[in-house]
């Protein structure tokens, strides 16, 4: 193979990868609206908050974050959502580790962590955020609840 052709192949490959990276960067952390979302089964979910099992949702907005042990941005995401919870009494942050909960991974079709589901007070899924949420995404999501 000539050196010209090899360089063209390399540049083509790099262009493709950079395009993938740029698209990922733009898409990750943005919210996808869920029409007719299902209700989250809290009992099955088994979320724990302050050492207590979560049996009902008490705020207008709940950010339900799914994490695994093998997750680079789960920690920073949890920190960000906790800060929102502290700043806004209408917001609750729940985190569930799904490393050993393949049932939940399959049920909620989780392909990456963190994945954050935005729930209303009744536990109905309103939107879904894949990856580290962008700050403005979260502000918009809370705004959608007309508080």
């Amino acid at each position: 193979m000539s050196i010209e052709l090899r360089i063209i192949l390399l540049v083509g490959l790099l262009a493709l990868v950079v395009a993938v990276g740029a698209i990922w960067k733009a898409k990750t952390g943005t919210a996808k609206k869920i029409q007719d979302g299902e209700y989250v089964d809290l009992k099955e979910l088994g979320a724990v908050k302050n050492g207590q099992p979560v049996t009902d949702l008490t705020t207008k907005v709940t950010f339900l974050q799914f994490s695994t042990d093998f997750c680079t941005f789960c920690g920073p995401t949890a920190k960000m959502l906790q800060a929102l919870e502290v700043a806004d009494p209408n917001v609750t942050h729940l985190e569930v580790n799904v490393t050993d909960r393949l049932d939940l991974v399959n049920k909620y079709n989780i392909m990456q962590t963190p994945t954050t589901l935005v729930l209303d007070r009744k536990g109905r899924i309103q939107s879904r955020i894949g990856g580290t949420p962008k700050a403005h995404t979260l502000v918009t999501e809370i705004g959608n609840f007309d508080i």
Binding site: M1, I3, L5, R6, I7, L9, L10, L13, L14, L16, V17, V18, V20, G21, A22, W24, K25, T68, D69, F70, C71, T72, F73, G75, P76, K79, V98, T99, D100, L102, V105, N106, I110, M111, Q112, T113
Partner: protein, 149 residues
Amino acid sequence: MATQIDPRGPRFGAAIINVLSIIIFVIALDPATEGLAFNLLVIAVASFAIGTFFGNTKHPFGWLFRKFVKPRLSAPKELEDSRPPQFAQGVGLFVSLIGVVLHLAGVTYGVAIAAGALIGASTLQAYFAYCLGCQMYLGLKRIGVIRSA
């Protein structure tokens, strides 16, 4: 308990792998230099093996990062769990080993195919902070490739 590491360490390592895999890719496509490309791929295999079994902190790239790069950078904004990048090293090991096997099986451009895949993953990791290997964890688990630790 998992250790916390500077997330820029694995990205520095990925940048080195990125340059190495670009070299491998270009020379692997010429039959005259394919043997050299294969030897370089074996070095990549060794690098991934160290990363997989001993982790980033004990890896030579990790040492280079702490010794020469980190002192020139500002303090990290946040630390990351050492396990995801270590898992990703295992994915890199798997991919580079496939290249070795393809080459030994006599597949034309087997080394180049593996190098191409490594270029993709290391570019995303080094320049976009997007860890493809980490991302694959749940997907691999869902299709049953990996079981619970």
